[in-house]
Symmetry: C2
Subunit: 359 residues, 2 copies
DNA sequence: GTGAAAGCGCTAACAT
DNA sequence: ATGTTAGCGCTTTCAC
């Protein structure tokens, strides 16, 4: 536990000045190979490692990346953003950055809500995942450090964006249901202000039109404020209460889809025979529910990684190129949307209409 | 994006010296209430926040906690340690610390494997989760900063420990199976060098003895090197190959338990009618598999939080009390272990012995 | 109770 | 290509 060597120890051991050592440390040019070697040798011999804080103070670079999440999203049970976060962790490690994680109150305003790591100048760049109030984003911009948004965006952009190809995802989902013989497809959503949700809805409508199917607003339920299980359950219940259930439901995300399935099971509807269900995101749980949920896979870790790659580029080049990356998605067909047997379906709808319990 | 105010700006605005401002900043004694107010006012007026790196350099305190995980554990699919990590994140935020996460190679040795945040003196304390080679722990100790282990421990301890009450957990699980009418209970495990696994096995044996049941080594399968799904599947397969399947399996963790269930289903055994299965950990997936898995709940986030609380205490008091916290567990009875119907069970075992496929 | 001054360990001009 | 010097923004003796 003896005192760690400093740059001065290295310098004297190599019989050089500390500035030369510093040059070597930072891979600067104009150092002869001979001295470079001498310094390197001294460093390994002493087991020297530069002190982070000292470096940070002198260079204004911390080696940290801030990760900001709305607290709505960072409930412990949020599998989606947790995955994105883990992706950033992985990639950051490869670039020798550490991630500092924090949450902001979605609703609250003012300085109170600015992450401490920004105020203390403890990060070189920030990643924001999910929906955040715009005025907050503006505040963060004040700090003049590179910024990447994941699964969100705002009009005026001085930041890069990593987003999901929601349009393609919704199209794949809806077409898949249609190919399975279901032309009446409900949309169940919530938190419609979130760009990703809005895009999924828009593409759902668009795809129906392309397929020559009329968009029926009575089977579009987007009143839920959030996109959790319970919201999906509620929405499905409303759908069932108001009218005959359509033979297919496309939910804005897996959580809502699973909520829908729970409701459907509770009224003894069979999935997919009576009602097919398709979700979006491919959270882990989706392959473990009964029946397994057909969904649109989003590469969550990948998105986190891409965000870090973008951010690192921006940090290196001094807030360089502002770009938008749209990450492809992939339809994952599982049990919940297998092609229907029409007979079974009709029978069930009748059962439900008549409020007859089977089993 | 104007330059942030420094302590000097605060000092001049308050017509005081920077050392006095520093005293207020750090809540030191010997400052009159009047000046304290003056300083506070100046600080809020300027929107001043101390610079992390500067503070760190001067005080040797970084405000960071290092979190170390063996890379074996931090595969992206590791739900157990991810939860613990999230727990530390939550608690750290409350104490104004940030968590720096890293992994170490389990096998590799030498300096190469010492986390950068230790070498660069970028953390004030460290938390280690899961099994880590002892010589590495010794290396970490060299840095002379407080250390807390989660779900692991080594004999010579200069660190606090947060561990699971594995003994009680295994006892609850085994007793539950016995109460369900199953006296022949297999144990399926792996990675037996891990103290938690070893403790579960020991308590399993002990509980059987207490209940007057002979320990049968032929239905104890602990050869698997790891404790993943596939290992559970393999172990169950061995169990089935070698002899009649017992009416109950207690697995060392949920992953293996679910692996066991997958194998059992693949040979058309019914759970729990033919074989009851109980796991350990209560990972998220366990309540979503079919049938839902009975397990021993481990409060993972809670363990992470406790570790941070301990660590913060140690950091404040300069490596104060070394304590071991044993976190209680809780039996969660679900479908996979419902009391058996003896008839069904026997029938199935016969079927299996005769290699007859039903369905 | 408050201030002056000396670093903490490094980077970054600027000289040489 | 290497050395000299002046900070970076704070904490911390040590005087007063």
């Amino acid at each position: 536990m003896k005192a760690r060597p400093t740059i001065e120890d290295v310098a004297s051991k190599a019989s050089l000045s500390i500035s030369t050592v510093s040059l070597v440390l930072n891979n600067k040019s104009n150092v002869s190979d001979a001295t470079r070697r001498k310094v390197r040798d001294a460093i390994t011999e002493l087991g020297y490692h530069p002190h982070r804080s000292a470096r940070g103070l002198a260079s204004k670079l911390t080696g940290n990346i801030g990760f900001i999440l709305s607290n709505d999203h960072f409930s412990m049970a949020e599998p989606f953003y947790t995955r994105i976060f883990l992706g950033t962790e992985f990639e950051a490690r490869d670039h020798n950055y550490y991630i500092l994680l924090t949450t902001v109150q979605y609703r609250a305003r003012g300085k109170e809500n600015v992450p401490r790591f920004l105020l203390e100048r403890n990060v070189d760049g920030i990643i924001i995942a999910g929906r955040i109030e715009e005025h907050l984003i503006k505040q963060f911009e004040q700090f003049g450090i590179p910024m990447v948004l994941i699964d969100f965006s705002v009009p005026r952009k001085r930041h890069s964006v990593v987003c999901i190809d929601n349009e393609q995802g919704a199209r794949l989902a809806v077409r898949h249901l249609i190919e399975g013989g279901r032309r009446k497809i409900a949309f169940v959503g919530g938190d419609i202000a979130h760009p990703s949700i809005a895009e999924r809805l828009a593409s759902y409508k668009q795809t129906l039109l392309e397929e020559g199917i009329e968009v029926d607003p009575r089977i579009i339920d987007i009143d839920e404020p959030d996109t959790g299980f319970q919201n999906g359950y509620n929405a499905a219940a409303r759908l069932a209460r108001n009218r005959e259930l359509p033979p297919a439901i496309f939910a804005a995300n897996d959580a809502m889809a699973i909520g829908c399935m729970q409701f459907l099971k509770s009224i003894d509807m069979r999935i997919p025979d009576d009602v097919a269900v398709v979700g979006f995101d491919d959270i882990e749980m989706s392959s473990h529910v009964e029946p397994q949920l057909t969904t649109v896979r989003v590469f969550k870790e990948e998105m986190g990684k891409l965000a870090v790659v973008r951010l690192v580029e921006m940090m290196k080049s001094g807030s360089g190129a502002i770009v938008t990356v749209r990450v492809p998605v992939q339809l994952v067909v599982r049990e919940s949307s297998l092609a229907q047997s029409n007979a079974a379906s009709h029978a069930a709808v009748m059962r439900h209409s008549l409020n007859v319990k089977v089993k």
